[in-house]
Symmetry: D3
Subunit: 230 residues, 6 copies
């Protein structure tokens, strides 16, 4: 299948990342996961949650949609399994409100944990009350048609990052990060190690000790030529 996201196809069976690994990843924040996989996989920062405190971790059902057209979001509903997150990429930049409370009701009923959409979303107050988390590029009441095919469960590029069906999606107030399915266990382990190390550092920093000393930066700063002036 083309890496550009073939149009007109819907895959029913997708291998999801291991459920236990998903749970392990879900206890960490987006920043930690992003660091743990070598500073990769982070969606562009224009992707924002629709309410403070929104957070999720799940496996991707991917959607490729056309501008102003949410037809494929209905096709995707059937593909959702409990624990999934729907990730919507578009063939071109578009801010229209492709998703609202009706689709959220449907997705929620199918066990979907939330939505990541490189387009607009509407009915955001209702979605917040439903505790259905969404990360989007816009909040926009503009409605859409159902006229042109896209695809479901093909590789997509969402907000600058390649996503494949079954990948792990972690999202919180800091944004959205994608963990490739095949790397999920390694990244979970790296995140746990990082978190442990940071805890110790945090405790030292809280006493007023300086990062300059904890991380041993004074020598490299001097070598780089930093001049302290009294």
């Amino acid at each position: 299948m083309s890496r550009f996201g073939t149009v007109g196809v819907a895959l029913r069976n997708v291998q999801r990342a291991d459920a236990g690994t998903v749970e392990r990843l879900g206890v960490h924040g987006v920043a930690t996961i992003h660091e743990a996989q070598g500073r990769t996989g982070l969606l562009k920062p224009y992707m924002r949650p629709i309410y403070p405190g929104a957070a999720l971790c799940g496996t991707a059902v991917t959607v490729l949609a056309q501008p102003g057209d949410n037809w494929m979001l209905h096709v995707a509903a059937e593909m959702i399994r409990p624990g999934d997150v729907v990730v919507v990429a578009l063939t071109t930049d578009n801010d229209d409100g492709m998703f609202g409370d009706l689709l959220a009701t449907s997705y929620h009923a199918r066990g979907c944990r939330g939505l990541v959409i490189d387009a607009g979303v509407r009915d955001v107050r209702t979605l917040a009350e439903m505790k259905f988390p969404v990360w989007s590029r816009a909040i926009n009441a503009r409605g859409t048609v159902k006229a042109t095919l896209g695809s479901v469960n093909v590789p997509v590029v969402c907000a600058g990052v390649p996503v494949e069906p079954g990948d792990v999606i972690v999202a919180d107030d800091d944004g959205v990060v994608v963990v490739p399915r095949e790397r999920a266990a390694d990244v979970a382990a790296a995140a746990e190690a990082r978190e442990k190390k940071e805890e110790a550092t945090r405790a030292r920093l809280a006493t007023g000790e300086l990062g300059l000393d904890i991380y041993g930066m004074r020598d490299t700063l001097a070598k780089a030529g930093l001049k302290y002036v009294e």
Copy 2:
């Protein structure tokens, strides 16, 4: 009067949309109203509320203002009648903070329900405490002068949408929609019909039934050529 919003005029008497119709429209969200009038009348999505949960419905007093100049917002205060919403358009793009807690105190005292301004607003914390809702293109403390005439109660284009004095303005977390005065009753009826229909659909979707089946999309998808892959 020119459709471009003549400068230097203030109209005292404006025919408002019928009060009962305004109340009927006010029970619906922006997305519903926008759909009910054929996906028209929605301001561009950069218009955002200054606090979550802000919502209003009222009749428009329109203002055409110059960049960096809020003189006409003072002239508009006198035109406000209880139930009005002030809608401010500018002659050119400008983000300055044209409206703050003093004008809000004045507008509130005159019975104004809120503000829609294609410019900046300030004192937003105080406005939130006053529960005075505002939709704006920016939050900006920058002050403005009172030096160049605009107009009050002329036709304007606000955030991409033509607004006439007396139109109905509905705004919530999803944005702002304008309903022309002469169409208000029809749109209210259409919104009510749509809402009723959506309730039934929502109940079915909540059980896990698919939109594909409820809306009968399977045939049209097949005709359009969608290929399901197992």
Copy 3:
């Protein structure tokens, strides 16, 4: 020292604005301070707080950082004295997440009141829980390197405004304003006078009296040619 912010220098001793004056300034909002110093000193409005209700007043420790590199934010930690606010400018536009909960723990332990950064910030939920206020151009989990020198406590231009170490920084929901150290007392006095005057005006406006009459605008509007139409 160059007004362009020399690279490779860290100043240890900086004259801060007088502490009593800082407290006097801190009781006013950003809009009031900005007006009190002749509508100057306001950072561009893309600088937004990471949580509603964030507010601070303190003295500036300035940082000049390179894109994608937060090394100098560690150097700055050592320069912080209780009551300081760290102000980060960049040599070029960059949205990376240069500051997170570890640096916040460190800064907080040193007595820092908050951060103003013309770049990105991450771990925003934790920062909100810590009540560590930040104003930034972006929320972004993207991590940064420690490879290239910048400076600490040199003159910088942050979000369009020249800032010098020791200046007073006032920030709230409306944005961020800089008060030059040497003008701080005068601006405090002007802000107090303005506030007093506004209180009286507010009371009159609250009764429904018009700004047109309170400010005596009717004559100047007539001279400018405003035509009232019944």
Copy 4:
């Protein structure tokens, strides 16, 4: 007809502005026309010509198109009469390349003088060679579908300005201005008067005489409080 641009309608017979008046307007630049009608009618400045020196004046055939869909541009071809300019507005922001060399060949064959489109355009090198002038919000090779109805010859808002079929469109390197059909003769006369007056001013300025003296600004500057410092 709704001021919001009804969808699904194509008007065959439109009253164009008087041909002689169009020619009179065509000898002036966009800045002059915009000033002559009281600084109104100018499209937002993101509308740029695809090649330097592009210029046109003609009567508007208006199009309302859907995002990513150029169907209505084909419907419009039939409505073109010699001397027309096609003006395309969209129901939502979209940058796709709705117009290329094939449509340009068609439009040119029908006597069309050029295109103003609040979307993207492609084949720009060929269009430049054809001397077919276009003003657009983007240059973009992205292709579009023909699936959803818009309208032809209805009132639209293009790049912030209301346009009606038959209006005069003037465009050059400075941008695009719309002159309402019913005001065309008055604006032509005002433009001619302005041009004549400017010629005399230009001659005086060319000798080094100052605008301060020609326009008599010294007194008003002094009254406003300008202080000259030696």
Copy 5:
């Protein structure tokens, strides 16, 4: 290798698309190629040529660079073979001027046909005189450091599109399109077929015949409900 573009690797041997196929693709414009491969592969339209008439076709050497750091562009120089095009993606958005006349001299000497860079470029006048074509997101004189590793010849996402080393890059005034190496021959054939078909259509349109009739749209428009009004 990770689809996210591993950091710290430089691949020397890359399989390029077949040279003959590259030449076949090079006779078509970007719009034609983009259509011929099913409307995929087009970089976002903010990628613009630095001079009018710039055009190229060649095989990709890919670079993943850090913000404000052009080190990897020097590493890439060694990988260039005659007929290559260097494609630079960044780990984060950055507009700095990573490429100028010195690197262009080097690349040109190695047989490079041009540059596609999702960052800034400088010395654009000299590059235009050298006829060294560049497509970039910005023109920017800002200099960069050589401090942090990226990679050469790994998969990248450039301006929204996944690119692999050896892919075919076609660029002209309309933008930049990527053709995957393994699909190059098929796309060349499809482009040729499309071009031939368009020639015939162009000839008919040039006589004034309408696309409505050539493409047989009248029926589908009627079915969709378009109403013609006299």
Copy 6:
């Protein structure tokens, strides 16, 4: 005088940078000057010339203007001496067309070499024919009023960079750079040294020699951990 640019003042006598030094700086491009002064002084890259090949070097007359108001540009005309460049900063972001062919005629008659304006400009075709170079943030026909004071020859921040009257301004296709008057001779010398060194490098690169070898990067790349893969 406040570093924020006091409003209401016009300075008649300003010490310009030495004329000989200005000429020495004028033979170099913007990128060279920017590097020669330690990568500082470069205006943000949104400042673009209105025609290709525009270039200038001269001494700054600074203007602080209000949004939508070009009054101070007339005051500045009187301050121009042969060899000057007018640099316009605004109190807030604004794109209006503050400068056109009349002011250009006046400025040219006074010996002005060109304009750098963080706002809009109009009549660009005429300006190009006059060979009057302008760098601006927008091309925009929108006219402006003459109602509110700004200042002439005060310190300003233009497109992110502090500029003082008498500074040297160098501008070309790559953008605009400011050289502080007091550093002008040093920067000229550094630019000459850099240019000489680059000439030798350019000759070596033109033979196909690699920057990796000329700059001796292979060791540092290896130490940083770059892995070459065959």
